[in-house]
Amino acid sequence: MEVTWLHLVPLLPLIGAAICGLVGKWLPKGWVYAVALASVLLSFLIGLRAFIGLGEQAPLFHELWFNWFSAGSLRVDMAFSFDRLSGALTLVVTGVGFLIHVYSVGYMEEDPGYWRYFSYLNLFIAAMMTLVLGDNLVAMFVGWEGVGLCSYLLIGFWFTDEEKAYAGRKAFIVNRIGDFGFLIGIFILFNQVGTVGIAQINSAVLPLGVASIAALCLFIGATGKSAQLPLYIWLPDAMAGPTPVSALIHAATMVTAGVYMVARLSHLYVSAPGVMAVVAVVGVLTALWSALIATSQNDIKKVLAYSTVSQLGFMFIGVGVGAFFAGTMHLVTHAFFKACLFLGSGAVIHGLHGEQDIQRMGGLRKYLPSTRTTFLVATIAITGILPISGFFSKDEILGQALHTRAFSFLTLTPDGSTRLTWLGPLIYAVGSFSAFLTSFYMWRCYFLTFSGEYRGPESVHPHESPSVMTLPLWILAALSVIGLVLGLPQAWVHGTGLQHWTWEHFTDGVFSRPRGGAPEEFSPYLGYGIALIVGWAGWACSYALYFKRGLAGDELLTARIHVLRGALANKLYVDELYDFLVVRPFWALARGLFRLVDATLIDGLFVNGIPTLIAWVGAMARRFQNGDVQRYLAVTALGVAALLYVFLVRG
C-alpha cells in the first residue's frame, strides 16, 4: 500500500538532530531534551500506528519519497517499506531508542556537550530508521554508513582523550572495510538484476555463483557492522563512548544491522546455501571466541561488549541455518535485555563516579537496588537459566541449528559423498558450550558487581541513579520478561490468542525457506532440558567461584589455567596481531612508497633529474665560454676553415 507518511519516521529524528546540533548550544537545556525526545517519540508513535495498521489487507506500507539520483539504467530512490520485519525493528529501535534518550537525560546531566550528544543520538535514530526502512540497497547503505558515522562520533564523544578518539576512528575504519564488501555486493546485484531494489532482488532468480559471491560480499559488510570474526575488534573498543550509546548503538540496534540485512535478503542467502554455512560457522566461532574472552575481562562494559559480540554470533547462527525468524527474534529480545544490561552498567558507573572495573565494585545490591534487580532480570534473560525471553530465543536458534536441513545437500566433494549434515549438530554443540560460557561470565559479572562486599575506595560513595534513569531500566527489564511471548513454541500456544504474538507466526511469509526445507516439527523439550542444564551449570561454576570467594575466584581460576587466562585477559592478542600483520605493514608501505617512488623515482630521477642533467651540460659548456674574445675568434676561424674545406675542397 502506497502511503505518504513513512518518511516522517527517519525525518523527524533528523530534524531533531539538526535543531540540537545547529542551535542546541544556545537553547535552554530543557528545549534540547524536549526536541530530542519528542522527535524520537513521535517516530515511535508513527511506527506504532503503522504497526497496528499492518494486517491482511495491508501487509506492506511502501512510500516513494523522492528519486534520489538516477543515471543510465540505475535508478536510486529514497523509498521506504514497512512490513512486519522492518515494522517490528522500527518499534524496537525507536522504542528502545526513546528509553535510552530518557535515560541519557540523567546520564549526561553534567556534560557540557549534551546538545551535541543528543544531536548525534537523534541522527543515529534517523540513520538507523533509514537502514531498517530503506527499500533498496543504496537507501539501506545510506543508513548503514550513517549509523557508522554516528557510532564514530559517539565513541569519540570525549575526543580530548586520544584513546577514545582512536577507538572511534578504529570503529569507523573497520566498519568501512565491511562497507566495502557491502558496496561490492550492491554492484554485483545491480549488474545481475539491473536494479537495487530489495524486493526485486529477492524475487530475482540468480545463478548460484553470482548469488554466492554477492551474498558473501554483503556478509562481509555484515561482519563489519555486526562485529563478527574477523572484524569484531572495534566493538570492545567502542565502549569508550558514553554508556547509553553503548546500549543503544553497540548492543541493541546498530550492531544487529548485519543480521537484519541477511534476514532482509533471505531469498538471496537461501539461493546461496554455501554462504549460509559460512554465515553460520562465522557466527558460532564468533560466539565461542568472544564468550571465551569475556570470561576474563574486568571492565564491566568490556564484558558486556564481548557478550554482545557473542550474542550477535548466535543471531548469525540463526540466520545461517535458515531459521531467519529465530535469528531476528533473538535480535529483538537481545535488544531488550542487552540494553537493560548496558544501562544498568551505566547506572553502576554513574553511581560509582566513573568506575568501570568490577574488581573495585562488589556488594552494590545494597546501594543500587533498582539497578540490581533489573540487572538481575536481564542477566537471567541472557543466560537462560530461567525461561524468560533470552532463553527462548537462544534456544530456538540452537534447536533450529541442530535440526536444520540447510546443509544437508551441501557437499564437500563433487560426488556428494561427504555431506555437511554434521555441521548443524556441530554448531549446536559449540553453540551450547558458548551458552555455558555466557552463563558463566554473565554471572561472574553479576556476582562481582552486586554480591559480596564493596571493594572500591572509601572516597566513592555508591548511590542509586535518579528515576529518569531507573525508569527505563524497569521498562526494559519488563520487556525482557514479556519478550518471552515471542519465543513460545508453536505447540504450546497453538490455537490460543498468544499465537499471534509469537515471532515465528508473526513473521510467517516474510522470509524465504532454506533450500533443504524447514526442519521437521521437533520437540523442544530435549533442547530446553540441555539448555537449562547448560545455563545452570554456568551459574553453578560462577556461583562456586565468585559468590563466596569474590575476586579470589579469579585467582583460583588463574592458578589453574594460567597461560590461557593471561591470553584471554589480553583479548587473545588479536589487536596486536592485526597491528603487526596489517596496520604496521600498511603504514610502512605508504611511507616506503612515498620515499621510493614519489620522492626518489619520480621527483628525484625524472622531475628534478632532467633539469639537473641540463644544468650539468650547461656547466660543462660554460668552460668554453671563458670570455676571451680571441679564443672565440680562433674557434670561429677554425670553423670557417672547416666550412671552406667542406664546401670548396671536398664539394
Binding site: R622, Q625, N626, G627, D628, V629, Q630, L633, A634, A637
Partner: protein
Amino acid sequence: MDFFHAHQAQHYLVLAAMLFALGAAGVVLRRNAIIVLMSIEVMLNAVNLTFLAFSRFPLVPNSPMGSFLSGHAAVFFVIATAAAEASVGLAIIIAVFRSRTSVNVDEFDTLKL
C-alpha cells in the same frame, strides 16, 4: 702580359684573400683593442675589394648595367657601416679604458658570468 689579363679577376681575389687573412691574423693575435679594430677595417676593405672585383668581372655576362653596379652600392654601405662600427667601437674602448685602465682584449672577460 697575357697572364695578367687572362686571370685578372683572380689577381684581385687573391689579393683580397691575403688582406683578409692578414686582418684576421691581426684580430686573432693582437691584444690591443685599437689594433684589433684596425685589423677589422683591413678585413672589411678586403671584402670591398672582392665586391668591386666581381662587379668589374661579372660571373654572368650581358646583364643590365645596374646589376653590376650593385656591388658598388654594397661597398658604399660597407663603408658607412664601417664608419659606424669604428665610432661605436672606439667609444666602447674609451669607456672600457675608463673603468679598467687597459685596452687589452684578453682582460675583458667579465661577460663569462
